[in-house]
């Protein structure tokens, strides 16, 4: 008797538990007699959509103005003031979202996941700077990107790093870009946004770790100008390669270089290519040998990288929420004192089948396997490119900005003694 009563109570309690969902009116709405008026639930509206068009407008106008200042006016002052404006508008007013660097991930996700509708502003922030770069060089970096602006402000004592160190550190953005695309394409995470060092400064609010990271970058930035832009920025990779083929680009001298060497140390970013000895070029034979070496080396590196990447797909996929959940289901908490994780609790409350979770997780793992091959191959290619860049001798006669690395900040322009009559102030 007692047992059946206990069972009945238990069943009753369970039913209550299952009724625990929204939309069930346990207590009917009271009928007030005192003339009480029920207050309305206040729901503040988000930022008006029209303002997103304002952001797009400001971006396009800023890009146009900075490009004009760099290419036509050759004015460092103008670029500086524009970068301050970008810092104020895209940094402190818009609080860093949306930015061109992060928009890579939105575009990637939209390409791979058809159900993700990309906001128009994210698309424009991705495409417009690249389009401008294809015509005028990296003017976006010079005066529209708030990241560049804040680092430019603190670069008081820029030191030369040397071509070798620059080239080696310059590989990091490629790896970062590859990882960001892999994680965005699989719908796992937006790593660029997660490890954004300056967003905490725009918002006066960040985790301790990110403040340290941002502060450290700014501190390093005193001696190594624009460390994020040169050695981390994944969008910089895209801009770099677009800028190499740009139609126009900032030139140090408006006329012909007279080899006066005045501009040699003017670039804080080591982005001026110094003339090399063009009188006695190396023999055709050595050139050929180098070329053969590289054509063999790069595929080998890509294969090796791809294989390594594919072997690492499990740890790479470990941060994916679906994979994490599947792992937790496979290895349940055995310790009774330890509460079950929220993930398991949510899984149970949603009434999903275990098999479905495992199927989803193995799908993600498969994506990471393919992604690992591609990412590894890409990294192999980048390292191959690095080695090729080191051993191939380039010939150059004049002092010119490196079209890929130059941020178009226009500092060097003021160092050139040749002025066109138009430019005299």
């Amino acid at each position: 008797m007692k047992k059946s009563l206990a069972l009945a109570i238990l069943i009753f309690l369970f039913t209550i538990q299952f009724l625990n969902s929204y939309g069930i009116q346990r207590f009917p709405k009271p009928e007030f007699e005192s003339g009480y008026v029920q207050p309305e639930t206040l729901l503040p509206n988000p930022r008006a959509e029209v303002l997103a068009f304002m952001d797009i407008g400001v971006l396009i106008i800023s890009l146009s103005v900075v490009s004009w200042l760099v290419i036509k006016k050759r004015s460092r002052n103008g670029v500086f003031w524009m970068s301050l404006f970008a810092l104020a508008y895209f940094g402190f007013y818009r609080e860093g979202c949306i930015c061109a660097i992060g928009s890579i991930q939105n575009v990637t996700l939209a390409l791979f996941d058809k159900s993700y509708a990309i906001p128009l502003s994210a698309l424009v922030f991705f495409a417009a700077p690249l389009a401008y770069t294809a015509f005028f060089g990296r003017t976006f970096c010079a005066g529209v990107c708030p990241f560049g602006a804040i680092q430019d402000l603190v670069s008081f004592r820029p030191q030369k790093l040397g071509t070798r160190l620059n080239a080696v550190l310059g590989v990091i953005p490629y790896i970062y870009l590859g990882l960001a695309i892999l994680y965005a394409a699989t719908g796992t995470d937006f790593v660029i946004c997660r490890y954004d060092p300056f967003v905490g400064i725009w918002r006066f609010n960040a985790s301790f770790g990110m403040f340290i990271f941002g502060g450290l970058l700014l501190a390093v930035g005193i001696f190594i100008a624009r460390p994020y832009c040169r050695f981390l920025c994944p969008y910089g990779v895209l801009l770099n390669w677009t800028s190499r083929f740009s139609r126009k680009h900032i030139t140090i001298t408006p006329a012909e270089c007279i080899q006066c060497r005045l501009c040699e140390n003017s670039c804080p970013y080591d982005a001026i290519d110094i003339p090399t000895n063009t009188r006695n070029p190396e023999s055709k034979q050595t050139m050929g040998r180098k070329l053969i070496f590289i054509t063999f080396l790069i595929p080998m590196l890509m294969l090796a990288g791809g294989w390594t990447g594919s072997q690492l797909h499990e740890p790479l996929a470990g941060v994916n929420a679906k994979v994490k959940l599947a792992k937790q289901i496979l290895n349940p908490v055995t310790d009774k004192n330890q509460a079950e994780t929220f993930e398991i609790e949510a899984f149970k409350s949603q009434g999903k089948q275990q098999a479905q979770v495992f199927a989803e997780a193995s799908e993600v793992l498969h994506q990471f396997y393919i992604g690992g091959w591609i990412l590894g191959g890409f990294i192999g290619l980048v390292f191959g490119g690095l080695i090729a860049g080191r051993i191939i001798t380039r010939y150059q006669a004049d002092y010119v900005p490196n079209k890929g690395n130059c941020f178009s900040c226009s500092r060097c322009v003021d160092y050139c003694p040749i002025k066109l009559p138009l430019e005299t102030k």
């Binding site: 625990n20 969902s21 929204y22 939309g23 069930i24 009116q25 346990r26 207590f27 009917p28 709405k29 009271p30 007030f32 009480y36 029920q38 207050p39 309305e40 639930t41 729901l43 503040p44 509206n45 988000p46 930022r47 959509e49 997103a52 609080e95 979202c97 949306i98 992060g102 928009s103 991930q105 575009v107 939209a110 159900s115 993700y116 509708a117 990309i118 906001p119 128009l120 502003s121 698309l123 495409a127 690249l130 294809a134 946004c193 997660r194 918002r203 609010n205 960040a206 390669w241 677009t242 083929f245 740009s246 139609r247 929420a321 929220f342 993930e343 609790e345 949510a346 409350s349 949603q350």
Partner: protein, 214 residues
């Protein structure tokens, strides 16, 4: 030599620009498409990209983050993971659903001895819920929003014993609309999603009202 280099440059630039235009075009085309949709559309109704043929289909441009109260398990991570301090997620009181109970599961601690506004009886760690007598036996509960930290304790209490009129929502006066929501990636129940900015709340119980407003 110079000519050849210029030609190569032109070729590469053309390739890059074509690729860029193709990507942009594809994405714009995809989000502006209309066709045969069973509520899976790029309109203000669902926040997904795809085809939509509904008469009420509205093209939208921007999205905001919102959490679905039906998925929420009240784990309390909203209070800890938001980039804002205190969190942009706060409890929202849907008065239309409230039972105006005297013995309120969202206001009082479960083991409380007497029903009063004394601090030791309150479930809310920051005393953000205000209790006011309306008429026998009804009490009105109001959220003092600046005090709320989004810990979801009251939401759990109200959902377990009451009507579930207390629901967590991203408050859009505080949310800075990060490109990727820091709470979303830590949410164990996958309750966060991007919703059209023109329909930014996912409350239960007052949906009809929301639609009237447009």
């Amino acid at each position: 030599m110079q000519n050849r280099r210029e030609f190569l440059n032109l070729l590469c630039r053309g390739t890059i620009l074509t690729g860029l235009a193709a990507t942009t075009g594809l994405l714009v085309y995809r989000s502006a498409q209309s066709g045969n949709c069973q509520l899976g559309s790029s309109c203000a109704n669902c926040g997904k990209s795809g085809k939509c043929n509904l008469p009420q289909a509205l093209l939208y441009k921007e999205t905001v983050w919102q959490l679905d109260p039906t998925k929420c398990i009240q784990c309390g991570r909203c209070a800890e993971n938001c980039v804002m301090t205190p969190s942009a997620v706060k409890v929202t009181h849907v008065y239309a659903m409230c039972g105006y109970c005297d013995l309120c599961g969202g206001y009082l601690k479960p083991d409380t001895k007497n029903i009063s506004t004394a601090a030791e009886n309150q479930l809310c760690p920051t005393s953000a819920i205000k209790r006011k007598f309306v008429e026998e036996p009804f009490y009105q509960y109001t959220i003092d929003e600046p005090l709320c930290i989004g810990c979801a304790k009251c939401v759990k209490g109200c959902g377990a014993f009451g009507n579930g009129s207390l629901q967590l929502q991203v408050r859009h006066d505080r949310c800075v609309n990060c490109n990727e929501c820091a709470i979303a990636r830590n949410c164990p129940a996958d309750a966060f999603k991007r919703v059209p900015a023109s329909k930014p709340y996912l409350l239960q119980g007052i949906e009809a009202k929301n639609e009237e407003k447009g």
